[in-house]
Symmetry: C2
Subunit: 296 residues, 2 copies
């Protein structure tokens, strides 16, 4: 830690993790991370866990986004109904004496039903980085979000469970005997992606075929993982075509997943611009901090 | 057990179970079942487990189908390549002194790659029950099979992982918080099925929407399970349309799954005929027994 205490603390508090940044203005002074996600905490534990995690950082206020604001989290930060401004909105956690703690509200869509918590903050950060951006933001992850931004507003969005389905198929299904390693055979990825995009229904039958091909000696284990990844991302692109077709696309996500989505989109003629997830999260939390005093 | 010893023993030895029938001709004298599936046995254990399971049934030969014949099973019964006669073919287990043991060969398809082990025996049994049947056999299960039968031959087939994907989504994914009970809300099932069949790509986005609808109070837990079941079966029907469209369809499967497939097919104008799985399994093993002496 440098000499001056932070003037605020940024936090991303998800289901499985807690990430903290000691900030002065928009400058990061120190990073901390733990596995104390909201998924393993009872409501009474959030306050003590936070105070232990920020020990030595003074009494600066905390601004956080993520599942910490869900009904099962620390304090419910109600969803803002979409369409809505792509700007952060905070609620203050009641009854935490040690310091002010603010949580970003998620966004909901009623028809078709969908929700996000955390991505809205990254989108607010993206708008700081690319103020004029119009188009679709793709946020790959466990539940990938596709978000249409128009005139500074979240117009509509859709979530696909691709990351979670991949993990379940790769590690818990019969395909676990067949898959090895990550997505490294890019030819197999490309073919799977193109097939699923061209005929999403047929891709359903292609899943068990991965197992059959391995049994019949027709597919190397490394190629199987790549092909499964391609099939699922191609399927997702087929399910979200109305959101990315002929649109500028910005990608916010992990260094593992983002290149795969960028590659799949490039095959469809879309040159997606990639943004670093931490950078836009911090930018969004910084934007959120500017609203303190205006929270609902 | 009745007075006379069985003259043969039928067995269905799958990954998770071992089912045994003491037979005289085509008449069942006694049933036994255990959880000693091939998935939990090392190769050396198969013989002792079988002998313990048939204790008191004399020295009658055993005819079995299922994963016991896989490479990881007791003795590999090679796949017969499709197209092939829809008739049983056996291999004899070497080095089992206590009694003759025969295992039915599975069927493989090279393009597109697919495999079955056990279903080929049920199909042979179906042909005894409906000798003139021409059309498609649907065998719902963990990995549902759709098998085109023409002129007494398995022409082609396709496996869909619907059962396994349902279990993973319902019990291991974020949807586990949302689903309760089985498929009881038939309106929700019908709507999910029709939606996925009409637009299989869009159904991909409809999965996370189940969670969102529950969070937004828009869907009862019972309806969610029914809708998920409908979405996945509708998706499967879209992926197999070339196999069932304008075809006679026979259904062989569990009392839980078969009515759902029958309902989904009925909505498409297909009146599927249902067959009892045990009945056709035993008929198929009976047909297989007639071939003893001709095994490859």
């Amino acid at each position: 830690m440098s000499d001056a205490a932070p003037d605020w603390i940024a936090a991303d508090w998800g289901t499985t993790h807690l990430r903290l940044w000691a900030m002065r203005g928009c400058e990061v002074r120190e990073r901390r991370a733990s596995d104390q996600g909201m998924g393993k905490l009872t409501p009474a534990r959030f306050g003590p866990v936070l105070e232990a995690a920020v020990a030595g950082w003074g009494a600066a206020p905390v601004v956080t986004c993520g599942m910490v604001g869900s009904r099962q989290g620390w304090a419910e930060a109600p969803y803002t109904p979409a369409p809505c401004a792509a700007e952060p909105r905070l609620v203050r956690v009641p009854d935490h004496a040690a310091r002010p703690v603010y949580i970003a509200r998620g966004v909901r869509q009623d028809s078709p039903p969908d929700v996000m918590r955390g991505e809205e903050t990254q989108i607010a950060g993206l708008r700081l980085r690319e103020p004029g951006f119009e188009g679709t933001v793709c946020l790959p992850g466990t539940h990938t979000k596709w978000v249409a931004l128009h005139a500074g507003r979240i117009a509509r969005f859709r979530s696909c469970m691709t990351g979670e389905i991949y993990d379940l198929l790769a590690h818990r299904s019969v395909l676990r005997h067949t898959l090895e390693g990550g997505c490294e055979d890019m030819d197999a990825f490309d073919r799977g992606c193109a097939e699923a995009l061209a005929d999403p229904a047929a891709a359903y039958g292609a899943l068990f075929a991965l197992r059959a091909r391995a049994l019949l000696g027709d597919l190397a284990p490394g190629a199987a993982a790549s092909r499964l990844s391609g099939l699922l991302i191609g399927w997702e692109l087929a399910a979200t075509r109305d959101l990315w077709h002929r649109q500028p696309v910005a990608l916010i996500g992990s260094p593992v997943l983002s290149p795969l989505y960028a590659r799949a989109l490039a095959a469809c003629g879309i040159a997606a611009r990639r943004h670093d997830a931490e950078d836009v999260t911090l930018a969004g939390l910084y934007a959120a901090r500017q609203t303190i005093g205006a929270e609902a």
